[in-house]
């Protein structure tokens, strides 16, 4: 069984293609979205999902969220005393999703299609693949998120569709893709994005907005990490509140004081104007690259939870002069699209008439030496080999030569980006090949870039003259663990105690209650405290029916206090 997984910055989801349709799989709490959060309890057990996210406010040193932004970087995250890498945390989330899928389907799940932002670079993609392997999943394909959303929308129509634009603003990343459907072929024309723009950034803006209003005794310093987390969670709630009303309260409890301010929608819009302006650049770039004008677009599709914000919707409407389409729930579209791709991979008969082609969103090339018109020599010039928005799989060859007489070895730095100087581009790796001694410019070296459907790069160097053709695989300067290392790490992860699935609901309720305890004062706090003690007592009894009743009661009370739990 191949499943489709949306591994998001804030929330993740898993879906399956069955009976001619994509459907989301609920987790042990009955929700289709699982927060991408991992927390460790005092006795070393791992919690994933809502429980972990709620523990973010109460035990920030033991919890990690938004680690998708760290994928591909080598920064470790500390949960208490234990060190995790972003891949390992993602693997824990993937494992939880895998368990949910197996429980729902009643059969083992071994492979998955995992989505990544279209603008993820090679390193980040490889890290995502490793995370899947660490979770015990064979990663059939890495699918770009806007493409997945396009699939989810496009699968319903078999007739041709004029180009449409997918506007995917998630928790941490922003992607734009222009997609066309013709004769059952779903073709991505162009892709662009910003890896550092998402709902989290809007949270930061909200926090800054409120902090600016608080002075003196009420001032909230940024230095305390626990306080930062609490502020972030409060900002998230306020942001959601603004989706429905024109003002929303920003409230938190810190050091025994309750701080509450009302935030107006227009004040927030003004503060977030810079972020909104950043949304234009990828849109312009993808439109320019595809050569499509706004009047040729049939519709604009909104994907990603952050597009629920009224300011984002207004901005999109103003940009295109028409109302965007959000007919599929923005939080679900990507996972459903991943399920469709999984179905395609499994060659489901209902999908026989569909094909999907995607593009690579960056220009890939090497650094070379160039002579200008005055004969001066410039080094570190970027020579593109695969232009951006080339359909993948793609394979291009470029011929290079030596610069000095009797040069012993030629070094190739592999870069990705759009700048003319390689210093401004992202370096993916380094290759070198020895060459026979010859006068400068007489040795020919063929450099072939092969980009596969998952967006992973392979570089091959050959020297036709000597007849010898060497195949070199690009290798990160940082570690690129081999299979043995991955297996070892998987063992380590497997050895971690994970909170049993059946208990997930209880853990979530407890975590929520604890968070509410911290968030309220006085009488209400006492009341919650008593509920917690009562619930823990019931848990000891191990009677499922009683436990369920107690749990429902507590949830009801907490809903009354703070409004419904949101995802």
């Amino acid at each position: 069984m191949i499943v489709g997984i949306d591994l998001g910055t804030t929330n993740s989801a898993v879906a399956i293609w069955r009976d001619g349709a994509a459907s989301l799989i609920p987790n042990s709490l009955g929700d289709v979205l699982t927060p991408s959060a991992v927390s460790m309890t005092e006795d070393g057990t791992i919690l994933v999902g809502v429980a972990a996210r709620d523990r973010q406010s109460t035990h920030p040193a033991l919890t990690a969220t938004a680690f998708k932004r760290l994928m591909g970087a080598q920064k470790p995250v500390m949960l208490g005393r234990t060190r995790f890498s972003a891949e390992e945390l993602s693997a824990l989330v993937l494992r939880s999703l895998k368990a949910d899928a197996e429980a729902y389907l009643g059969e083992p799940v071994e492979s998955a299609v995992i989505t990544v932002p279209a603008y993820f670079n090679d390193r980040q993609r490889k890290a995502t693949r490793r995370a899947g392997e660490l979770a015990g999943l064979r990663v059939e394909r890495l699918l770009n998120e806007p493409t997945a959303a396009a699939l989810a929308h496009g699968i319903h129509q078999r007739e041709d569709k004029e180009p449409f634009l997918v506007f995917d603003l998630g928790g941490g990343t922003f992607d734009v893709s222009i997609v066309e459907i013709f004769d059952g072929i779903i073709e991505v024309r162009a892709s662009a994005g910003d890896n550092r723009l998402g709902g989290e950034d809007f949270n930061d803006v909200m926090v800054e907005l409120v902090r600016g209003q608080l002075k003196g005794v009420d001032a909230l310093p940024l230095s305390n990490s626990e306080l930062r987390e609490i502020m972030r969670a409060a900002a998230e709630r306020t942001r959601r509140g603004l989706t429905e009303a024109d003002t929303a309260p920003f409230s938190l409890v810190w050091k025994g004081r309750e701080i509450r301010r009302d935030v107006r929608a227009d004040a927030f819009a003004e503060a977030a104007a810079g972020l909104i302006a950043r949304l234009r650049e990828p849109v312009l770039r993808s439109m320019r690259d595809s050569g499509i004008r706004t009047e040729q677009l049939s519709e604009v599709i909104l994907v990603g939870g952050a597009t629920r914000m009224p300011i984002v919707r207004r901005a999109v409407t103003r940009m295109f002069g028409r109302f965007p389409n959000a007919s599929i729930d923005p939080d679900h579209a990507v996972a459903m699209g991943a399920a469709v791709q999984a179905g395609l991979k499994a060659r489901d008969s209902a999908l026989e008439e569909i094909r999907l082609t995607d593009v690579c969103p960056f220009t890939l090339g090497v650094d070379t030496v160039e002579f200008d018109r005055l004969g001066r020599m410039h080094s570190g010039v970027f020579c593109p080999i695969i232009e951006r928005n080339t359909v993948i799989p793609a394979s291009r060859v470029h011929v290079f030569s030596t610069v000095r007489d009797n040069q012993p070895v030629v070094e190739f730095g592999v870069y990705q980006g759009e700048a003319r100087q390689v210093d401004a581009n992202v370096k993916l790796g380094q290759l070198s090949i020895p060459v026979p001694p010859r006068p400068a410019g007489t040795v020919r070296i063929d450099c072939r870039f092969s980009y596969d459907v998952s967006g992973l790069l392979e570089v091959d160097l050959t020297i036709p003259e000597t007849g010898a053709s060497k195949q070199l695989v690009i290798c990160d300067d940082a570690d690129a663990p081999d299979d043995a290392a991955i297996a070892a790490r998987r063992e380590v992860l497997a050895a971690l105690k994970v909170h049993p699935r059946e208990d997930a609901a209880n853990a979530a309720t407890l975590a929520r209650a604890e968070r509410c305890y911290e968030a309220f004062l006085g009488e209400r706090r006492d009341h919650i405290g008593q509920m917690i003690i009562g619930f823990e007592g019931v848990l000891q009894k191990q009677d499922p029916k009683q436990i369920k009743e107690a749990r429902d009661e507590i949830e009801r009370q907490l809903d009354a206090l703070e409004g419904e739990r949101f995802l």
């Binding site: 234009r280 004008r293 018109r373 003319r420």
Partner: protein, 584 residues
């Protein structure tokens, strides 16, 4: 586009976009790109080639200068009056939608005010209006601050308009560059690879305008020459004055060509032509005149662009000044013979004369980079000719290909190169000569070509005329009549043109009929077809045939005639197309 590609697509050669894409879709469903990437790559390449040779793709052109390609998004900087949706309404404000939706109002349609754009046009191009750089900058800033620019299509249109206007209106439009570049992020780092060439040109122009300001301020001699070059050619100047200026003008032009190419676009083209002819004429003069010229050239080149500073060595100057007086005083005292006085005064006069005519010693040159004359020398035919061929018809037109397939033309080019090398001409002379040779060869090849070449060529002309027809019927008419100056080809058509040119130039020509203008007979059947194709009534058609209708009608008739000729049966069409091509 090869036969293999069509096999790959499983399609007979066609120009129909939809057919090609359908065939691609059909084939794509039979292969799995993941399992067999090579098969997919082959299929995709075949599709791309098939689509790019298709003349149905519409592409607007800005009418910008030759160097600047219009590549700003599709509709690529479309000419301002072409798009009815974006026609700026005169003095209209933001209007709400006419018919509100059942559920909610449609988003308001912002409209740009037309006045600022018209003002820019008149400031730059109207000879009666005095251009005011401050006003220009202000207007541009105003336009960019308009909230209507939030709409992407409006923003793109404005960007295209500004880029196009800057290029057309250079150098008067230089003050517009900074606000536009800042707003649209033209000079931003990290995005240079896929920057459209027009933007590169504009950024280069910005650098060059700074250089120009420096030149005008710092070098009055060359500043005058620059102004003269911006005016029509100096036909009234006397021969001697022209000769005196000639070397300096040559230096300035080659300086621009090497270091500040956008400056050339700001000069009057006829002036440049005048001077180029002049250089050739002077280079062909007698040996002594040439030697003198070469000597002067070296002198001017060494001297550089900036005027020399006088060395303030007042003391020595004073002594030198006073010396004749001392001498005279000494000589006029009694005791000197007449011969001695004669010699003394004569010597003094000589010294004074020498002092007055001696050029001052050049001080340190002001930061002008040394222009290496070596760089513009001709090196070898294999080195110099290929870039010129590639400029003419794309990189596929290689010297080797020409040598194997059209040796006479190859030999002719090498002969021209050798002649210029022997005369120690420079690269710009070679450019002109090669271009002329290739133009002649192309004309001969088209005149003497086969039926299929003729058909392709005339099809190409129809496509080109159609793109004009969409913009401006008068241009289309002029194009068909052959009177439209300075043509620029949009990229799609350019590729077609190049392919055609390569085809013609790489075919050996057995007999090239001479150029023949004059009338030829069009068979009645072709005229009838054309009448039907043109969709004008018979009377209007006939009137337009005799050039008595409107420009749009002439244009439509011209296109219809060519199309009828192309699709006529072979027997008829062959002779007709040959006749039509005999005037090329």
């Amino acid at each position: 586009m090869t036969g293999e590609d069509w096999t790959e697509l499983g399609l007979a050669p066609t120009a129909d976009h939809r057919e090609i894409r359908k065939a691609y879709a059909r084939r794509l469903k039979t292969i799995d790109p993941e399992a067999d990437p090579d098969a997919f790559i082959r299929l995709r390449t075949a599709r791309d080639r098939a689509l790019s040779q298709d003349p149905d793709r519409q592409f607007a052109v800005t009418g910008a200068r030759t160097d600047a390609e219009a590549a700003m998004g599709v509709g690529n900087g479309e000419a301002p009056d072409a798009d009815p949706n974006l026609e700026p309404a005169a003095d209209a404000e933001v209007q709400p939608a006419a018919a509100p939706d059942t559920s909610e109002e449609a988003p308001p349609e912002p409209v740009l005010l037309a006045a600022p754009f018209q003002r820019i046009e008149s400031l730059l191009f109207d000879p009666d209006v005095r251009p005011d750089p401050i006003e220009l900058q202000q207007i541009v800033t105003e336009i960019l601050a308009d909230p209507a620019l939030e709409r992407i299509d409006i923003a793109q249109w404005v960007e295209g308009f500004l880029a196009d206007t800057i290029v057309r209106g250079t150098p008067l439009s230089d003050p517009m560059i900074d606000p536009a570049a800042a707003h649209f992020g033209w000079g931003q780092d990290g995005n240079q690879i896929s920057r459209p060439p027009i933007i590169d040109w504009i950024l280069q122009r910005r650098e060059d305008s700074i250089f120009e300001a420096g030149l005008i301020a710092g070098s009055p001699e060359y500043a005058t020459i620059l102004h003269a070059l911006r005016a029509p050619p100096p036909t009234q100047l006397g021969e001697r004055q022209v000769r005196r200026q000639s070397v300096r003008v040559e230096y300035l032009l080659s300086y621009f060509q090497t270091l500040h190419p956008t400056m050339l676009a700001t000069l009057d083209q006829q002036s440049i032509q005048f001077w180029s002819d002049r250089f050739v004429a002077e280079g062909a003069g007698n040996g002594f005149a040439r030697k003198l010229r070469e000597w002067e050239k070296d002198r001017i080149w060494k001297r550089g662009l900036w005027p020399v500073e006088r060395r303030g060595d007042w003391l020595i100057a004073l002594c030198i000044f006073l010396m004749p007086y001392l001498f005279a005083w000494a000589l006029l005292r009694p005791g000197y013979s007449r011969v001695a006085r004669f010699v003394g005064f004569g010597w003094m006069i000589l010294v004074v004369a020498a002092m007055l005519t001696n050029p001052d010693k050049p001080s340190e040159l002001k930061e002008a980079p040394a222009l290496d004359l070596e760089r513009t020398r001709l090196v070898s035919s294999e080195h110099d000719l290929p870039p010129l061929l590639s400029d003419y018809a794309g990189p596929e037109l290689t010297l080797g290909a020409m040598k194997t397939r059209n040796k006479p033309l190859h030999d002719l080019l090498v002969q021209r190169w050798t002649a210029l090398r022997a005369g120690d001409r420079r690269t710009w002379d070679l450019e002109r000569s090669v271009r002329e040779t290739l133009n002649d060869a192309l004309g001969a090849g088209l005149r003497g070509g086969e039926y299929d070449i003729h058909r392709r060529f005339w099809q190409f002309r129809v496509d080109r005329a159609r793109t004009f027809q969409q913009e401006d019927a008068a241009k289309c008419d002029a194009f068909l009549e052959g009177t439209l100056p300075g043509q620029v080809f949009p990229p799609e058509i350019e590729e077609e043109r190049r392919a055609l040119v390569r085809e013609v130039l790489l075919r050996p020509l057995s007999n090239a009929p001479p150029r023949r203008t004059g009338t030829y007979r069009i068979p009645g059947s072709v005229v009838a077809d054309a009448r039907a194709l043109s969709k004008l009534g018979a009377p209007r058609f006939d009137a337009a045939l005799e050039r008595r209708g409107t420009a749009a009608e002439h244009c439509a008739v011209g296109i219809a005639l060519i199309e009828a000729a192309i699709s006529a049966p072979r027997k008829v069409g062959r002779t007709l197309l040959k006749d039509m091509s005999s005037a090329l």
